[in-house]
Symmetry: C2
């Protein structure tokens, strides 16, 4: 049996989130933070590679360590603040405007993968500059059972397409939202888009459709995992990262990764995302323990079941 290590690269950040009913103030955020918190539901042995600034407190770090997340790959820069993002959601919560982005420590981030995680079974490349994602891949030692997952967004298609396509070629699983799949592929239909992205490298193309769930395309035909209908969405920030975290955490604990495990992992991701959106920032994930997570998984099963 291969090791059960999950290596995550992504931002650790501060966010300020404005929803129609609430303003968060400066709160913990970042793709790697959400991924790590969500992967913890699967009790994966997770290590994060990231960078934080002088405003990141011991309390923030301890929150992650408490969930068995190794932070030896997180560099702390003494003379700069952490990456900062401020955004405002529209009334239907399905779209948002970025009000401010400050790269800060991220501007010169050079990821260093701890030796212990170089042979990680599962590698989750969280949404980040594809050149940084590539630097992480370059530091890995071979593991024949490795599974590499990638999450990305339109910003990198606009600014770093070549580097992004190079990374995409090397990954097994890509998670991407519907609009971005259309943009990346140049197709105007999700089925055609998924086929085109499949041809770019990944065996498994997962299209995230927000409240409508997620679609998996692979060589054996599509699979559709609906999202839980929620009577209240507090804050969608981090939902996609939580999805990636639940999925990659689940895969880390499996002996084999075939379509079956990917599908089950998508349910894990969906459950994590449904928890994430139930609180401001990371609060939803922070509050919900394994029992709550199991309950969400059960509700997802009921949602899909006829009898």
């Amino acid at each position: 049996m291969s090791n059960q290590k999950l290596l995550v690269v992504g931002t650790m950040a501060f966010d300020e989130i404005i929803t129609p009913s609430e303003t968060s103030g400066k709160v913990l955020g970042g793709a790697a933070t959400y991924i790590g918190l969500a992967a913890a539901y699967a009790q994966a042995e997770t290590g994060i590679v990231s960078v934080v600034g002088n405003d990141f407190t011991e309390e923030h770090l301890q929150l992650l360590r408490d969930r068995n997340i190794d932070l030896s790959g997180v560099e702390q820069v003494a003379d700069q603040p952490s990456f900062y993002w401020k955004g405002k959601y529209h009334s239907n919560m399905n779209s948002r405007d970025t009000l401010d982005t400050q790269l800060n420590v991220l501007a010169n981030f050079s990821p260093k993968v701890p030796t212990y995680f170089k042979d990680a079974r599962v590698v989750m490349l969280g949404n980040l500059d594809p050149n940084v994602q590539q630097q992480v891949l370059d530091q890995l030692t071979p593991n024949p059972q490795r599974v590499v997952l990638l999450d990305t967004m339109n910003f990198w298609m606009d600014s770093q397409l070549e580097a992004l396509l190079r990374v995409i070629k090397q990954v097994d699983v890509i998670t991407i939202n519907d609009e971005e799949a259309i943009q990346l592929s140049g197709k105007n239909n999700l089925v055609m888009a998924a086929k085109a992205i499949h041809a770019m490298g990944p065996s498994f193309v997962i299209i995230k459709k927000g409240e409508h769930g997620a679609l998996l395309f692979h060589s054996e035909g599509p699979f559709y995992a609906p999202a839980l209908p929620l009577d209240q969405v507090i804050d969608p920030t981090g939902a996609g990262d939580s999805f990636a975290g639940g999925l990659s955490g689940y895969l880390t604990k499996q002996n084999a990764v075939t379509a079956k495990e990917i599908k089950q992992g998508i349910l894990y991701g969906t459950a994590a995302a449904s928890i994430c959106v139930g609180g401001m920032g990371t609060k939803g994930l922070e509050k919900a323990d394994g029992q709550v997570f199991a309950h969400q998984l059960q509700k997802l099963e009921q949602l899909r079941t006829i009898v």
Copy 2:
């Protein structure tokens, strides 16, 4: 065992449909036409109550009779043309503009339910003036096992809300699209909207989400039936009616109608809708036989299945 008769009320019409790639010319259309064609996959004994004009040919009627659809409740008016609708789809096929509507024979339509269908086990009230839907309900004879389904749209919410609410109170199952559920309920969230509509009368609230599938809300919690991802949508006209037809046709053949049958019926409706959008107007349904329908059902099962 109760009878297995399905009574359908709705329009029979001529449509002119403009999609980004094709213009249909004047083709067979109308809610009852689509419902009848789709219900035929379940081999339900269907009777339609409707009205047509002097432009409706024997060929059009025979097309329906060939599928075992009883047209004795279809009045033919000698001195007027049939109901006519012309619409143009936008490039993404998810929205459309109505370019022309001519009520013609529909303006003075007074439905007459044939005696044989007055005790029908299942009654499908297709999208139509709720006052006409009510006139059909008023002519029925009691059947303790009766199931009444209603499909409606925003036009009637705007123009005939009181009559619509009265009909809604009397039905067991309502099918309504997501935007219209929001409008009808005054809520801004689908879960809350479904609860509010449930409180208006129907035990089963089915929210149609187009390419994203359909959600069932009832007393035991939600069920989500994804739609088949399609690599090509030729014409979405009639998809909602086909959904209603597949569902009501299936229910007509069941001994009991509980949540289980409704869920299975939603899969029938989803399969019929996926066939409908594969051709201009009714061409998709006309071409696809029972074997094609069974294949669509099988693909829907695979779409929902992990192993």
